[in-house]
């Protein structure tokens, strides 16, 4: 059972890291600010979600589970608030306004 949990954690955290790498690659490769925002939000959200999912079975208490889920939730909430604002500013900047 412990081995299964270890394998689950290693696989999901490794997958999470792949998505963080993808987000960083998008930040470098994508052609415009808003596309880079897609990379920094969507790929990184999934990466963080997978890291959190992989760590959940290792939490020592319900508090630890709540803490991990709350971290993902807070990152999602801050991205949802900031992403559209930055995209609006980027569009204005591109129009020269």
């Amino acid at each position: 059972m412990t081995l299964l949990v270890d394998v689950f954690t290693v696989l999901t955290v490794a997958a999470g890291i792949v998505f963080f790498v993808a987000g960083t690659a998008g930040l470098i490769r994508f052609p415009d600010t808003s596309s880079r925002l897609h990379a920094l939000t969507k790929a990184d959200h999934l990466g963080l979600g997978l890291v959190v999912l992989g760590l959940l079975p290792r939490a020592e208490s319900l508090g630890g589970v709540l803490r991990l889920v709350a971290i993902w939730g807070l990152v999602l909430a801050s991205s949802a608030a900031a992403g559209p604002m930055l995209a609006r500013l980027a569009r204005r900047g591109a129009r020269g306004g």
Binding site: A22, G23, F30, S34, S35, K42, H45, S79, A87, R91
Partner: protein
Amino acid sequence: MAAAALVRFALLLTLWVALAGDGWKDLAPGVAAAALGTWWSLRLLPPAPLRVHPAALAGLVLRFPWQALTAGVQVARLALDPRRRPEPKHVTWAPSLPPGRARDAFLAYASLLPGTLPAGDAPDGSIVIHAIAGAGSAAAAMNEEEARFARAFGLDD
């Protein structure tokens, strides 16, 4: 107002306890922070009646991990596959929700969904959407998600 304040205070304090633990030493600043957060949230977002449809809301919440997976995989493929390039386009989309908090909340939610990132208002009152994989189905996807969102929060009655 008092009931809304109590609910928000309880939610903020729960979040604090989830993050900082429930030790007495940690609880005092948590109560102060939750009280300050409640006061500020009531100023920024006065309570308004919401007719939540639990089944539709549960559907929206349970669907979100799949949406996050789809969005992340789509962006990761564009970023990591050298044969693919993003085709970013700005498209205008006419929302059904009237201007206000419900629309703002939906646009924030939509920024987490696959392929779409709201990027402000167009001069004609519609919304500009930044679509990373081409204009194709962005408006249709927004319509579909807006209907789900409105149903979950009883905004379509």
